[in-house]
Subunit: 341 residues, 2 copies
């Protein structure tokens, strides 16, 4: 398999991105890795790491999309941004997947501009694995690719995220919950009410509505929601978890006994911190695009990049996109789905 | 002042609600407290607590709205639910405020059916104080009274929550953030883009867009959002905080050293737990209704009820509603506000 990595994307690019790719190239010697970005900068990083891997090559891209830029504007005005060139490698058949820790909006925009949607998919969505502290994940879909969704989009997020969860995360018969303000049927906005009916009338493993608190406990394997809400959930969870760990650290240094207590509890607290460190996790696939696009956390370190690459390999080798198309076709035959389209 | 308390509302009603009201009656001997609900049940609780307070009386209400009921249906089909009778005491001029830990939807519906809106208010919203771990609160408005908002609603939530924060929470010149998927201007759905313009063109202390992660750090004093999102935020924050504290407890019992560590850190961890224990906090006002309605957490204990009553007294004595009307009138004269109405 051939994985293109956006070497310029992310807060710690190119250094950590290149390192993570080198590590992946070592672990997967039969696969090929393409670092896309400023050739000089990448070569410097490769030199610093002393890496001369046969399965590692560079494609030069002179520009990049900055975190503060409007993605669509940047992609239109700049020729040869690293993310657009990376996406192009898929379009040209030179790569099977793209991994990027850069501007999520730019990755989504570049993918939508440069590649086709999967057959039957109305709108792509991002599926993010959120740690739940119950030793399991919950997949949030959509996490922000499509901020204003329609009922059919939410329904298809359920279909697509299920294929991802079953094949890449290896969850058996993944259950789907619909994020809402209450668990009872008939709750919520018109959007969620209509999505509820589509999901209920399908053969998907739909558990009904779920509330905000059910995300933390992992009440379902997949939580379907509009991109606006998904984005808020993700950032709030991350912010809360980080603040709480910081506060625990501060509280525990307030007296000598609590300081000792903290020192003794450190392994336990570190294990929790690792569990909720979002930058440690691999990546989030952009589902619904005919190409494998893995969005990695902006603050990804080398380990997170390697792990996102591992996920992209699994996504490609499991042929997830063809399975998504088959599932979309299966559920598109459902009368309720047709009615909503 | 005269405070009506919905004695049947909440997971621990009537026991904890009655206890909390008795405590308030002791602390505020010059104010009058009306317990609304099943007379026999309330009398039993009063008897158990040995309370014979002069400033405590009962108004009988034979019915109640269950947590699983559709609030509007229940209010229409049942005559004399405790929340409707409590709201009636305001309409009849027998009470200045209502405190309820019951079904939030029922409280909102009963208030909207039984009382007028404040002059100039387009749609009422709930303002909830969320602890931020930075030793300060953030007021989320709307937390779920109005799940599908329009730009003018979001704008007015900012106006109303500011009056509440300044007068009841005693925050100086409270700042307002608009919840969005990014901090840059121009981000988000049409709803938030339009609300952004209304807030930006006003004389309110508007700091711009805020993201999910900014809630946890308390980047603004007030976070304005649609009720659907506000409800999710609230329940997610609570769920996450509780799961995390539970996990810390579990992790720390895994070995003898970490057990000792936990024992030593206990005061620190308990202080954090108290800070994030949502049921300990007072109540959330329903802003925009001509009457003081304080919604308390469903799992409120006696302490939380007393604290919600304290808040209602402060709300009434600060004449917050008249101040909200004055502010709404002031900002209604703003051309941008008119354009959006």
């Amino acid at each position: 398999m051939r994985i293109a990595v956006d070497a310029m994307g992310g807060d710690r690019a190119p250094c950590e991105v290149v390192k993570g790719t080198i590590d992946a190239a070592k672990v997967y010697p039969r696969d090929e890795f393409i670092l896309v970005g400023d050739e000089t900068a990448i070569k410097l990083e490769l030199g610093a790491a002393g890496a001369r891997k046969r399965n590692l090559r560079i494609i030069h891209a002179p520009e990049m999309v900055g975190m503060e830029e409007s993605p669509v504007k940047a992609l239109r005005s700049k020729q040869g941004t690293s993310i657009a060139v990376a996406i192009e490698t898929i379009a040209k058949g030179e790569a099977d997947a793209v991994v990027s820790a850069g501007h999520t909006g730019a990755t989504v925009a570049a993918a939508c501009l440069g590649l086709k949607r999967l057959k039957g998919c109305v709108r792509p969505g991002i599926a993010v694995c959120l740690p739940t502290l119950e030793d399991r994940f919950i997949v949030i879909c959509d996490a922000g690719a499509n901020i204003a969704a329609k009922p059919i989009h939410l329904f298809q997020y359920g279909v697509m995220a299920r294929v991802f969860a079953a094949n890449v995360l290896e969850v058996e018969d993944p259950s789907i919950g619909l994020l809402n303000v209450g668990t009872e049927e008939g709750k919520g906005t018109d959007l969620v009410k209509e999505a509820y009916n589509l999901l209920k009338d399908s053969s998907l493993n739909f558990i009904g509505n779920m509330e905000g608190r059910d995300i933390a406990t992992g009440a379902a394997d997949i939580c379907v929601c509009e991109g606006f809400v998904g984005n808020i959930i993700l950032k709030l969870s991350e912010g809360l978890a980080m603040s709480l760990m910081k506060t625990i650290g501060e509280e525990c240094t307030k007296g000598p006994w609590t300081q000792l207590g903290l020192a003794l509890s450190k392994p336990a607290l570190r294990s929790i911190k690792d569990r909720i460190d979002f930058s440690e996790y691999g990546g989030a696939p952009l589902l619904g695009i005919d190409g494998v696009i893995i969005v990695s956390h902006g603050s990804s370190n080398a380990k997170a990049i390697t792990s996102a690459i591992r996920e992209s390999l699994k996504f490609v080798s499991s042929d997830v996109n063809r399975k998504i198309e088959a599932e979309l076709a299966k559920h598109a035959r459902h009368p309720a789905t047709h009615a909503a389209e």
